[in-house]
């Protein structure tokens, strides 16, 4: 029996971590994810978990300690946001290259500068090529569910990659919503125990981790990492199916909302999907065939599946909550359009950079995107595919 509760996104993440009961948590506070280590250290202080909590002096050390802990043969978790993730950046790559299934709760926030504490996806986008499995969550429920599935995916022998579960800072992390929690015992059984094949604390088989890896081997090691990322797709689907059996909550690589018969659609991630669904419902009442494709699995990027799911549309808008500052569009836009191109899908597609630094994204703005798409369908032309949504005109 699921337990009905009301929790914020951060509470949901901390609750998932409590139920997972990892061996080590190393974290450093940063808004808006600070509450996660706060709640978690309370669990530690009260003996609710078996975890060794390492209150490190920086995020760089948080990820370094997670690497040390995971390599030693334990389950290690952390939580961070924005500049915290930026400071970890060097270690983010090392964690994945050492094939350590560390799990992170990333509460998305704008990366400086200038300093801003509110939500966008620039932190996650900065590590999109680092070899981490990246799951995005629309709300507290998904943040919780994704974390419960995280270790099963990351620790799978065909994957062995670190994994981050993203949720929107403040919008999700600090909003209290209804949530269905699973019973502790059921979670424990689902997550299972960590049994690494090789680990530092195995005195019967001492190992060396993190070599100088030169021209003769690094290429092959990188190719193995890439292969693990490819394998992750099926593992995510398998684990999600098993999760559905336990909870009744269904997860795929992405969610299609009224996409089947849609003519125009938005592709986006995290909380904006909620606003978009609301707008779609209103438009549907007016007879507009609008739909949504909400990315859950951003890495590995399900290119073929996304392209196929969008192939019947007349126009698509990809919403990026991070600007790549590259003069051609956001990261999600690049991923979606290149997937469409390589899979022979030709649908007029437009990109909107939106919600930067926590700029509110209203239903009116989403409506304007759909009406732009209707215009594109009418004219068959995409003028300026790299656009802004919600930017004050005078500052354009």
């Amino acid at each position: 029996m699921s337990i009905r509760e009301r929790l914020s996104g951060n509470e949901a993440a901390a609750t998932a971590m409590k139920q997972i009961n990892p061996d080590v948590v190393a974290a450093f506070p940063i808004t808006p994810s600070t509450e996660i280590p706060q709640y978690f250290s309370t669990f530690v202080a009260n003996g609710t978990v078996d975890t060794e909590f390492v209150a490190v002096e920086s995020e760089h050390s948080a990820m370094s300690a997670c690497i040390g802990a995971e390599a030693a043969g334990s389950r290690a978790m952390t939580a961070t946001s924005a500049n915290g993730l930026s400071l970890m950046w060097e270690m983010i790559y090392i964690a994945s290259s050492l094939r350590l299934p560390i799990v992170m709760s990333l509460v998305n926030r704008a990366v400086s500068g200038p300093l801003n504490i509110h939500n966008d996806h620039s932190d996650a986008m900065g590590v999109r090529d680092a070899g981490w499995v990246m799951l995005f969550s629309e709300n507290n429920q998904e943040a919780y569910d994704n974390l419960l599935m995280a270790h099963r995916i990351a620790e799978h022998k065909d994957v062995l990659l670190p994994l981050m579960v993203c949720q929107d800072g403040f919008i999700t992390s600090h909003s209290i919503e209804n949530i269905e929690l699973e019973e502790d015992e059921k979670v424990k059984e689902f997550v299972g125990t960590y049994k690494p094949e090789h680990y530092l604390l195995n005195r019967q088989e001492p190992i060396a981790v993190g070599p100088l890896d030169l021209q003769s081997h690094l290429f092959e090691h990188k190719a193995q990492q890439a292969n693990a990322m490819r394998n992750a797709k099926n593992v995510i689907l398998e684990v999600s199916k098993e999760f559905e059996k336990m909870t009744g909550r269904k997860y795929g690589l992405f969610e299609e909302y009224k996409l089947d018969d849609a003519e125009i659609a938005i592709v986006c991630m995290n909380s904006t999907a909620g606003t978009t669904k609301f707008v779609i419902d209103n438009l549907r009442e007016k007879g507009v065939k609008a739909g949504l494709l909400k990315i859950r699995v951003y890495r590995p990027f399900p290119g073929e599946e996304v392209a196929k799911a969008l192939s019947h549309l007349k126009a698509v808008a990809v919403l990026d909550k991070s600007d790549s500052l590259n003069a051609i569009g956001g990261a999600l836009f690049s991923d979606v359009t290149s997937s469409m191109f390589t899979n022979g899908v030709q649908v007029p597609t437009v990109n909107y950079i939106y919600g930067i630094g926590g700029r509110d994204t209203t239903s009116t703005q989403i409506e304007s995107v759909f009406s732009d798409l209707q215009e594109i369908v009418k004219t068959g032309k995409v003028e300026n595919p790299y656009r802004y949504l919600g930017l004050r005109k005078e500052e354009k």
Binding site: A26, S64, A72, G73
Partner: protein, 318 residues
């Protein structure tokens, strides 16, 4: 039990094997081998290494010179990496997931770059949190791995590739940071400064103490570099000896805040004896540069006196 080098070497096989690629005449492998010898045969060790000469010369895929478990992640985070491994050990042990009667010791190695400079935050954090580990700094007084650039451990006036002895500026113009004192300021159970001299007695005994004292311990080991210092490779042990005899590198330990100077030379040798065989100080011996040697000597004397005072102060009433 009195230290006996022959016995130690005969009874404890080296846990750091031959075949590594450190330079001839380098002090670091001598340090690593001796520190690791101090781990009891029945104990396992997890070694963490900061990026640097030692790491890139001892673990080139697919070969390793380490017979214990070993981890290297990056330059500035040996302290944090090892704290994670130690935290895992504590956690798994508490949960009964590791045998109670088997012990693992945690030892980090970093050069002065990875320890005094880029890694000082990670080191300070690990020490403050009190992880049961030893951090060993093999201090060769510059960033040797990248080609002899100055560090905060580089002595004043030394000629390095980023503090070259030029026509206007005669080498590094700043004094050496005293990391050992910074570590003493962390109020650790055991902090020591040592070097490989006299059959490695001081180095071995301090390693043993540091490894088997519960909590975070720190060893600062002067570790000459023939390329960076410019001495003949067969002169390593003599350079070490001169560092101690001139009081450039005093041997001392601080146990729970109490100082003990382990060796006080009866006749302190002039600093020229230590500087002269090293090419990095060559310009100090040019006519007209006598003031540099004088200044260097003065600093050595001041620091030595400070140490004597600290020893006297912390042993009052005993």
């Amino acid at each position: 039990m009195a230290y006996n080098m022959k016995k130690v070497i005969a009874e404890t096989p080296s846990r750091f094997t031959e075949g590594h690629r450190m330079c001839a005449g380098c002090g670091a492998p001598v340090v690593a081998r001796m520190v690791m010898r101090a781990v009891k045969t029945e104990d396992h060790a997890v070694v963490a290494c900061a990026t640097g000469c030692m790491e890139v010369s001892t673990f080139i895929y697919p070969y390793t010179a380490w017979t214990d478990s070993f981890i290297h992640t990056a330059f500035e985070c040996a302290g944090a990496t090892l704290s994670g491994a130690e935290a895992a050990y504590k956690s798994l042990k508490r949960q009964g997931k590791l045998p109670e009667d088997e012990h693992t010791k945690f030892i980090a190695f970093g050069g002065d770059g990875g320890t005094y400079d880029i890694g000082i935050q990670s080191l300070s954090g690990a020490m403050e949190r009190g992880h049961d580990m030893v951090y060993v700094c093999y201090d060769n007084g510059a960033y040797m791995n990248t080609g002899i650039q100055r560090s905060s451990a580089t002595p004043k006036f030394a000629d390095t590739t980023t503090s070259p002895a030029g026509k206007v500026i005669p080498g590094k113009m700043q004094s050496r940071k005293d990391l050992t004192q910074i570590m003493v300021g962390h109020h650790l159970p055991y902090v020591a400064q040592t070097i490989a001299v006299d059959n490695f007695k001081d180095l071995y005994e301090k390693s043993e103490k540091a490894i088997y004292t519960e909590g975070a311990c720190f060893l600062n080991v002067l570790s000459p570099c023939p390329r960076g210092w410019g001495y003949p490779t067969d002169m390593l042990m003599e350079i070490n000896k001169l560092a101690v005899e001139t009081c450039y590198w005093p041997l001392y330990e601080v146990t729970n805040g109490v100082y003990k100077i382990n060796y006080k030379p009866r006749n302190k040798r002039p600093i020229e004896d230590f500087l002269k065989p090293q090419k990095r100080f060559k310009h100090m011996f040019k006519p007209g540069n006598e003031w540099m040697i004088e200044e260097f000597q003065k600093e050595v004397d001041t620091r030595w006196q400070e140490l004597l005072d600290l020893e006297a102060m912390t042993n009052k009433g005993e």
